[in-house]
Amino acid sequence: MIRELLTRLAETRWSIALHESLYVWPLVESTHVLSLTLFVGTAAMLDLRLLGVAFARVPASEFTNRLLPWTRLGFAIMVVTGVLLFTATPVTYYESLFFRLKVLLLLVAGFNVWWFHTRTHDGVSSWELNARPPRAARVAAIVSLLAWTGVVVAGRLVAYNWFACDLQPQPAIVNTLAGCVVPPPDTTR
């Protein structure tokens, strides 16, 4: 079902134009990469503060109130450019092991963000001046740093086709995890 939808998407004029363009695709991709500094970069600074290893003189709430809007802006640019890139070659990404890993890590990172902002951040006024924030905040910071690092690394490796479905034979585990449709071995001969 998903594969059929994405195959149809890949056949649209929009998708073909995007992935065949000489400059649009590289420009969108570059924007996607450079926005990492705004998104992951500022988020990492908040994480360092929450971990209690940096910027102890800056109240934690300054980060969540006044730096987070920039993080959100970065995230918005990442999503828009990311969706554009996805529509350029949707089936390739759908079948990419690294892309699947990236989506999985995005879910982990996203859950952590949701958890932090709905639970841990509520009581920020009681610990915003502490050089070392409470345990829950420090755990959220570590999960965030690891998950986003994973997203960046997996995202970069999407460009490598080591485990691509059209490069058979692949180990069975790769074909299963990447959802490759492998034609059954030829038994007529």
Binding site: G41, M45, V58, R66, L67, T149, V152, R156, A159
Partner: protein
């Protein structure tokens, strides 16, 4: 004049090691990106403050002092990952205009960060016209370095 140096890099042990490995270049490249995030975050944290936005309740001078070691660490990470990447494809870089744009801008950005911006930030409490100008120059310089860096991979 520079070509023999680039040829030496390409033929060096490190250059060959990274070039002949399937995994090394991609993995080092990925962490070059991770350090880009760290560098971008450290640069933005102070530049936004110097622009009059971002975190407050701490003076520019104090924040600059706190950010400095993280900025240094990020730059060290960029160099530690960037040098082996360069060595593995030094000749490709030699004939790549984006590479030269990056190498022309990166030293300027570094000097600007560790001389001009550092000095201005050390003597500033709140954002002024000067700190805003310095922050915009800083952001522009780093933007060119990062954009040219990404473009090395496209213009080959």
């Amino acid at each position: 004049m520079m070509l023999p140096f680039f040829e030496w890099c390409e033929a060096s042990f490190l250059g060959q090691l990274v070039r002949t490995s399937v995994w090394l270049f991609p993995i080092i490249e990925s962490f070059h990106l991770v350090f880009l995030c760290a560098l971008g975050g450290a640069v933005l944290l102070l530049d936004l403050r110097m622009l009059g936005t971002g975190v407050r309740r701490v003076t520019i001078a104090q924040l600059a002092g706190d950010v400095h070691p993280w900025l240094l660490a990020a730059v060290a990470g960029m160099l530690a990952t960037g040098i082996p990447l360069f060595m593995s494809e030094a000749l490709k870089c030699y004939y790549n205009p984006s590479f030269w744009v990056k190498m022309g801008t990166a030293p300027v950005a570094l000097l600007f960060a560790f001389v001009v911006r550092k000095r201005v930030a050390r003597n500033a409490t709140e954002a002024t016209a000067t700190t805003r100008l310095v922050a915009m120059a800083s952001l522009s310089l780093w933007f060119v370095v990062a954009a040219a860096g990404r473009w090395i991979g496209f213009s080959s």
